[in-house]
Structure formats: C-alpha cells, structure tokens
Assembly symmetry: C2
Homo-oligomer: 388 residues x 2
C-alpha cells in the first residue's frame, strides 16, 4: 500500500513543482519528513535551524534542500539579522525571505499526514512514524494531500466581500447561492491558505491546562474565506501563502530568546496580514487541509511564553480591528511600514516591547528588500536595493 | 426501525416544547409532515395558507396547529394586512407575528429530514414520503434532528467579534484556539440559526439553468458565526430565530402577487436582520442542521420572479454594507424603523418599489406592535398598543 501510494503521488506532475518552497523550522533531525516523502520530495525545502548552529541536523536522503542556521542568517543579513528571532520557531520567516519562489508552504516538524477517520482502530500511530507510510483517506475515499489542497486554495479565488453559506463556491459540486451578488462572483486573489489540525488542537496554555485530554477528531469538509474586516488567529503549523502577494507581511516578530513573549509569532503575522489583505483586496482562506498534530507542547512552558501575550492581545485586537491604512499604501511593503508606525504610536504605551517590535518591523522590510530587490533594481552587496 | 426511532425521539422531553412554534407557509396538503412527525409532533404549528383562502389544506392527524388564510390575515390586521405578501411564501412572516412563543422554526413544505450519507443506495427516496420514516444518521452515527440542532445553536452563544478557526467553540470537543482574546470568549446572544440543505441547493435561476444537475452532497459538520460586518444570503427554507431578540426584523417584504419581485423575501429579511444584529451585538449562526430539499423549483418561473432582484441586489448590498444605525436605536423596532427611513432615502431612486417597501416596513412594525404589545401596555382591539 505504502509504495503504491507513494508511486501514485509521484506519478502525476506535482502542482507548482518549481514555484513553491517548503519552509521548516527545526531544532532536531528531520525524520518526520519520511512520512511526507511522497508529497514533499518533488519540492525544494528551506530548513531554518533554530538554536545552536553547531548542532548538525540530519535530513533524510533524497530531499532537495538548503539549510540555514544562525551563523548563516547573521552572515546574510548582517546587522539586520536582529529582526529574526532566536530560539523560537519564529525564525522560520527567514525562510520566506530567502526563498525565490512565488509560493511558500510552512509546517512544523511535529506534524504528519492527516488520517481519517481519526483514531481509526486499524491505524497504529506508533507504526506510522516508520518508513512504511500508511496514507489514509478523507471521507470521500481519496488520499489526503495537504500540500495539494493548499495549492488548490491558493490558485482559486477567495470571497472576502460577502459570505457564501455553502462554503467555497469554486469547489466541485458547489457554487454561489441565491442572493449572492453577481458582481462579486469573480472573487479576489487568494493570498493565504490556513490549514487545520487533527488530534492535538492549537490551544493556548490555559486551555491546555484545563483540557489536557481534548483531541480534535472532527473533520470539517470545508474551505472558507475569512470575511473582510474579520480578524482570525493564524497558526503557523500548516500554512501556505503567495509570497508575491503578501510575503513581506509574513514577519513572525520578535519572540523567544531575550524577548518577553513567545507563541505569538504566527498570531502577529496573521493580524498584520489580515489588515493588509483587507486593505489590498486580497483573500485569506481557512479550513482544509488537515494535518495530524502529533504532540502537545508543554503547557507550563507555554504559559511562561504566553503570559504577557494573554494580557497584550486584549489591546492588540482592538488596535488591529481599528487599524486603517491610507490609500497611498498600495504595496505590501508600504502597508507594513505604515502599520509599524501605528504600532509605535499606539502600542508603545502598552509595553516598551512594542517600540522594539516596531523597529524590527522596519528592519524586516529592509532585509526583505535587500534579498528581494524590486524588479528593475540592482541589489547591493550590503544594503538596501537601489533603483537602476 | 421507524417506530423505535419515533419512540426514542418522543421519549425524551423535547427541548423548548412550550417555547417554540413551527411556522410553515403552504399552498398544498401537508403530507410532508408525516416525515417530521417524530420531531415536530410535540410542538405547536402555525400554518400560513398562501393563495386562495377557499381551498382546504389537509393537515395530518395528531398535530397541534393553528392555520391562517388570507381572510384571517385581513380580519386580524385590517388595513395593515397590506404588508403581508399574497401568493408568495413570504406570507410566512405573518406566522412570526402571530406567535406568542420566544422561538420560531420555519421550514418549507418540500423539505425533509436529512439523510446521510446522501444518495446512500439503501435509501429509496420515493418510499421515504410514506409513513414509514427512515431516519438516517449523521457521520457520527446519530439520528439527525434538525429542530434540536437549531435549538442548540440558539441556546449557545455566538462569536461575531473574532473568528474561531475550529468553528463553534461551544461544541463538544471544541474550544477557542490559541490567540482568541479571553475577553471575547463569553460570546454574544444568538438571535438566528440558519440551516443548510442537502440534495437541491438554494441556487438562483441563472445558476439553476446553467447547472440543472448539480446536487449538494457535501455534509459539512460545522456551525459557525457569521462575523460582525459581514452580510450573507439568508434562506428561509430551514431557519430558526429568537423572536424576543430579533422577531420584528424578520419581515419578508412585499413579494409575489402585484409586486415586481419574488424570491428575495428571505434575503431582504436576512440583510435587515444582519445589520440590526450587528448593531445590537447579537449573533447569527449558519451551518448545521441540514434538511433534505427534495425538489428544485422551476428555473424559468424563478427567473421571472428574480429578474429585477438580480439587478437591484447590486445596489442593495452596498446599501446594507454601509448602513449605520444611531446609538438611540436600542430596540429592534427602532432599528427597523430607522432602516425603513434609509431605504426610502437611498433606495427610492433605484426603483419606486422601494418607497412602497419602506412604507410596508413601517406598517409591519405597527402590525407587530399591535399583536405584540410591549409589556406594561394594553393592546387595543384595532390599533397600536397604548402604554398603560
């Protein structure tokens, strides 16, 4: 079964094979890639090594990858490397910046191919970590291919301006329902595809502590657009996006070593991203695909990381809900720099951390432009891109 | 099987037995109620007979019901009966007005208990219309009880202010995900529960014409809140709401006989309702339960009814998206009258019909208050309620 599935997955030309990078932050050997081999092997991987650069990370044979550790990041970005978090998976955003592809898929190294039905007695999860991959089926009987579903989500439009009650109208067997204005049926370009998790849900530390046994076993067979004007908690565990459309907004902030907060990296990126996609008329989708999240992180450690964030998010949400960008902000970079200005002006009084974060947001954009010089510009070896 | 299911459904005390009315608009004998008997028999039915009042509508034995035909509506409302549509299922909203209960469930007479899996070979749909009801299972193996699911939706809070990626956080096995502000986890009172349809989807005439064979067979196991600020197409086929919270906004407009438009009754009610629930801090849910929609209506007849609406909705959506209610509008009635004023001011120029509709909106509120005098007021036999 395993080999035939793998063969089937590899036989067809993989979607966007040369236009998508898979970004993985890690502190350990990447044995988990064995499970993803039939789906990931055709793609290029960007591995961002978190923590001690002296440690060697083992990548299974046969994968095409580049790996960056802290020394590499310091060397490439110079003083601007200060915007990349250390000892935190937030460092993954360096991978978004260094990629040259149009699309990014990022995943945590404790996430696996999804199984449906979850907890099916015939699936022995322990055996699943071995090379003999059993790819299970979704309710319609098809193999779940998370990456393929993300690509489908990104390549079809979003519907941020009006809610469709039968979910994604572009999906086979679905459409816009009665009462959906025809002028809005073209939809908007999709910038982000946010996937979900079976088994261990993405809960905060207090919820983890209160519900240690809760597992997500509900497979909701839907993809939907998060409406314009609505914020959501974007999780970085199973996430894809269009770099050209939204890349520079995908900054995962200052977390981890030396910072007063952790586990808000993806949230921060999600709130900034949503304000900017709303402003630019782009779409954000959530729902399918599911991945299998194998292991809950330690809730006590998490509480320590989240502690400040739990208070601060009460101020952050109203800030982002009321944030408004000027008409002149017509690129992601301009939007992001404007947002940095507003962060300094309005969140600096919540905590001094936000002044530092606002500075880093500016540095991030400088670093992004350094590695991604605008077309028609020449990158200088050691500075911002200059126009020809 | 059939009788044991029915017995099981009746054995437990039905939820909200004395607090909910089921409103059904019809032009034909109500044989379809046989299928719903195990679920509906404990409740009181309000049947609104559409069209010729001389026709006798047969209701199966054993149901507790009151039936109103056009003569009854004219007698009860006098000149205000003009606000109730004739020869259109929009007349159902008279049932909302005449009810004395806190909750309403309304359903079309061509809708049946849902089947899952859809198109299961063991289900012969023809036989299902007989008294031998085969109640099918949802994916978790439980009987689908649409009314019970609506009641659960209405009795648990909504989350209109922030999006929860794992859908309804109040459902068993689910919760708020990381990054969801704790101050928002109490949610908001739920005013509306909008259910969906398997088999025949609720498409407009152009989509029906283009996709005559499309059937909805996707069971999406989710209930979600439609975010604040987002409009949706509310379908009246499978709908429940809290009369106390939102009843006076559930006016289904002027449709059918003598009007230039049909099939926008529920849409109109939905757009008005959403603007008002957003203003008052109430929630609207959509998703489960599914009902089985048995028969597509004639797309040619529908196109004739919808023709004007297809143009007008392009103006209506921006109107409702930008509608804003003043702080003083602190009851549904006040909100609705304010909205009527804005309809006259801004939509009158789209078509004279909207001036007539604005007048009817005012009449509807007068009629509502006539039949539902404010507490502490005495209803007069033939006029608006007067305060004591």
């Amino acid at each position: 079964m395993a080999s035939s599935t793998a063969a089937a997955a590899q036989a067809a030309t993989p979607l966007l094979k040369d236009e998508l990078d898979i970004v993985i932050p890690t502190i350990r050997n990447l044995d988990f890639l064995e499970m993803w081999r039939p789906f990931f092997q055709p793609y290029h991987l960007i591995i961002v090594q978190d923590g001690d650069p002296k440690k060697t990370i083992r990548v299974p044979e046969g994968f095409d990858y580049e790996l960056y550790n802290r020394d590499d990041i310091n060397r490439i970005l110079g003083p601007r490397a200060s915007c990349i978090s250390f000892k935190d998976s937030a460092c993954r955003c360096f991978g978004y910046m260094v990629s040259k592809k149009k699309y990014i898929y990022t995943i945590d190294d404790d996430c696996f191919v999804s199984f449906f039905p979850p907890f099916h007695p015939s699936i022995n999860f322990a055996s699943v970590r071995s090379v003999s991959v059993k790819v299970a089926k979704d309710p319609s009987g098809k193999d779940i291919n998370a990456l393929e579903q993300h690509i489908k989500n990104l390549l079809s439009p979003s519907t941020p301006f009006f809610f469709n009650t039968l979910y994604d109208p572009y999906r086979d067997g679905a459409d816009f329902v009665r009462g959906y204005p025809f002028s809005l049926r073209e939809g908007a370009p999709t910038a982000v595809s946010h996937g979900l998790w079976l088994n261990i849900p993405d809960y905060d530390a207090p919820t983890q502590l209160v519900k240690p046994l809760e597992r997500n076993s509900r497979y909701v067979d839907a993809v939907m657009t998060i409406p314009k004007g609505t914020l959501f908690p974007m999780c970085g565990m199973n996430l894809a996006f269009d770099r050209d459309l939204i890349g520079p907004a995908m900054y995962f902030g200052l977390m981890g070593d030396g910072q007063p907060i952790g586990r808000y990296d993806d949230m921060w990126a999600g709130w900034c991203t949503k304000v900017i996609t709303d402003h630019l008329g782009l779409g954000v989708k959530t729902g399918l695909p599911y991945i299998w999240h194998s292991k809950a992180s330690n809730p006590f450690v998490n509480l320590k990381k989240e502690y400040n964030g739990i208070f601060w998010q009460e101020e952050l949400i109203p800030f982002f809900q009321s944030a408004s960008l000027p008409k002149e902000a017509d690129t992601v970079q301009k939007c992001y720099l404007e947002l940095a200005k507003q962060v300094r002006a309005k969140l600096g009084k919540v905590d001094g951390y936000f002044n530092k974060l606002a500075d880093s947001m500016v540095t991030w954009i400088e670093a992004w432009d350094q590695l991604n010089p605008p077309k028609g510009a020449v990158a200088t070896a050691n500075g911002t891109a200059k126009s020809k």
